[in-house]
């Protein structure tokens, strides 16, 4: 049990350190790369919780797709210190307040959530296998699952529309 605790502590330290570095580093590309390391250590946390599927999908989606597109944009925009916009104080205050509110909501959610893993362990079901996960997703959580896919579709259509509009203006 202690080895898992040590691994957890190391992973948590890496996660927190890289998350802070992502915020504090001056160079936007460095902060994006710190964020990538942060995502990897979060995938490690998923592996500690025995959910291989979630860990791999997290790596594919966040590190493999989203952050690469992010890096892409930053590299092409060539951000310098000169064109860094100085934000007014009220915006910063608003950001802090909204972050605090999100923290409160998340903490409440975590306090009220019931750990379902115990149930699976008592019934002896292999909850980490993708077969069980797929059945649960498409039976119990069918409606939210479909709604999420509709949301993604709408976002995709929106992106296509936005990029098309730019083309006709030229």
């Amino acid at each position: 049990m202690s080895t898992i605790l040590i691994i957890f502590c190391v992973l948590a330290a890496i996660t927190l350190a890289t998350a802070f570095l992502a915020i504090f580093s001056r160079n936007p590309i460095h902060s994006a790369l710190y964020l990538v390391i942060c995502f990897f250590s979060i995938a490690g946390h998923y592996l500690l919780l025995n959910s291989q599927f979630l860990a791999i999908v997290h790596v594919i989606v966040y590190s493999g797709a989203i952050m690469i597109l992010f890096l892409f944009t930053i590299m092409l925009m060539n951000l310098n210190k000169e064109n860094e916009v100085h934000k007014p104080r009220i915006t910063r205050l608003g950001a802090i307040v909204s972050f605090g509110l999100i923290c409160v909501v998340l903490i409440l959610v975590f306090i009220n959530s019931k750990p379902i893993v115990g149930e699976y362990i008592t019934t002896g079901e292999d909850y980490q296998s993708i077969k069980v996960l797929g059945k649960v997703l498409l039976n119990e959580y069918m409606v939210p699952f479909e709604f999420a896919s509709i949301l993604l579709l709408v976002a995709m259509i929106g992106t296509v529309l936005l990029s098309k509009k730019e083309k006709t203006e030229k």
Binding site: F53, V57, G64, A65, L69, F72, M75, L76
Partner: protein, 350 residues
């Protein structure tokens, strides 16, 4: 966990690592020999018998070259680039089943480093992380040509990953599992997936070419436009690592192609061989068969490289987004209809 499993797995990992390195090394020689053969030349034949020691000589040369560093503010990232490229190229081999099993010292030894439930997704994850090696290296070089090369390579790889993932879904609908071990066990004898999913295979093959940045998709290092692409500023063994990673990637993608579509270690009469000659001999033949398939695909990569000219960049994107992705979606729909044909017939009242 008992110590024998750890020793067993360590040996498998070491052997797989050594084989990947060896295959990558000799792929460089094979590439030059195949190129020479296709162009009616002799090719390298000075080092060793028939040029057999050429890869060693090349490695020695790269190690002893002067290490040049460009004037870059990101010296650390400049070093990280090739390291990431090389390690991601080697990581994929962990989930590949090299054979069924050996029976030694009274116990079954499974010829695979690890058999995880989501092996195929793991492969995709490692492939998508591999883009970082190129992007970091290209950006840290502090050179416009390197940056454009890196961005071309990354956008190409990201675009073709989509088509690759979609083409695999049709196959997964048929196999019903993501474990590479189970997928290879499902193709005994000549029941290879390529006969059931030819379109999926074709799309996957084209995407594999794009993912490994090989001709006709080697726009990342298009010499006439970009000098050398993302590794323009690299020299000595750091550049060697980038080139080596490309060959390691080629070996791994040839292996994935052989495992997914060409029956992995299976060959006609394997069950008979297991019965009459024993598990060990049948599996030694199986490993040899798998490597024969891999060598064929590596040869195929080289054959294509010296036959088909390079695409233009807009042609590449057109092929990826407007042809391969719709084709693979159509393939998914057809596969779904075929799998559910009995239910559909009942529903329509036939």
């Amino acid at each position: 966990m008992d110590s024998t499993i750890i020793i067993e797995k360590s040996i498998i990992i070491l052997v797989v690592f050594a084989i990947t390195m060896l295959m990558a090394m000799y792929s460089t020689l094979a590439e030059r020999k195949v190129a020479a053969w296709l162009q009616d030349r002799i090719g390298p034949n000075r080092a060793g018998k028939g040029g057999l020691l050429q890869p060693l000589a090349d490695g020695l040369k790269l190690f002893s070259k002067e290490e040049f560093e460009p004037d870059t503010p990101n010296r650390f990232l400049f070093f990280v680039g090739p390291a990431v490229a090389m390690s991601t190229a080697l990581m994929t081999s962990a989930v590949i089943p090299w054979g069924d099993r050996f029976h030694l010292f009274g116990r079954d030894i499974i010829l695979q480093a690890t058999d995880i439930d989501v092996a195929l997704l793991y492969v995709f994850g490692v492939i998508s992380v591999g883009v970082y090696g190129i992007m970091i290296g290209g950006w840290a070089s502090n050179n416009k040509f390197s940056l454009i090369g890196a961005i071309r390579a990354a956008s190409q790889m990201v675009s073709y990953e989509v088509a690759m993932g979609l083409s695999i879904i049709a196959l997964l609908m048929m196999t019903g599992t993501l474990s590479l071990r189970e997928i290879s066990a499902q193709q005994p004898g000549m029941h290879w997936n390529v006969f059931y999913q030819p379109l999926s295979f074709l799309i996957f093959l084209i995407c594999a070419f794009a993912e490994t940045n090989r001709t006709p998709f080697d726009l990342a290092e298009c010499e006439t436009e970009l000098i050398g692409g993302y590794h323009t500023e690299y020299s000595s063994m750091k550049m060697g690592f980038y080139l080596f990673a490309e060959y390691a990637n080629m070996f791994i993608s040839a292996t994935i192609l052989a495992v997914l579509f060409f029956g992995a270690y299976n060959y006609p009469g394997m069950a008979w061989a297991v019965e009459n000659w024993g598990v060990n001999i049948a599996n030694v033949i199986g490993i040899a068969v798998l490597f024969a398939k891999i060598c064929f695909f590596i040869f195929f990569y080289m054959w294509v490289r010296w036959t088909i000219p390079r695409f233009r960049y807009d042609q590449l994107m057109h092929l990826g987004w407007r042809i391969l992705i719709p084709l693979s979606i159509i393939n998914i729909i057809i596969t779904g209809i075929v799998i559910l044909r009995a239910e559909i017939a009942v529903y329509l009242g036939f």
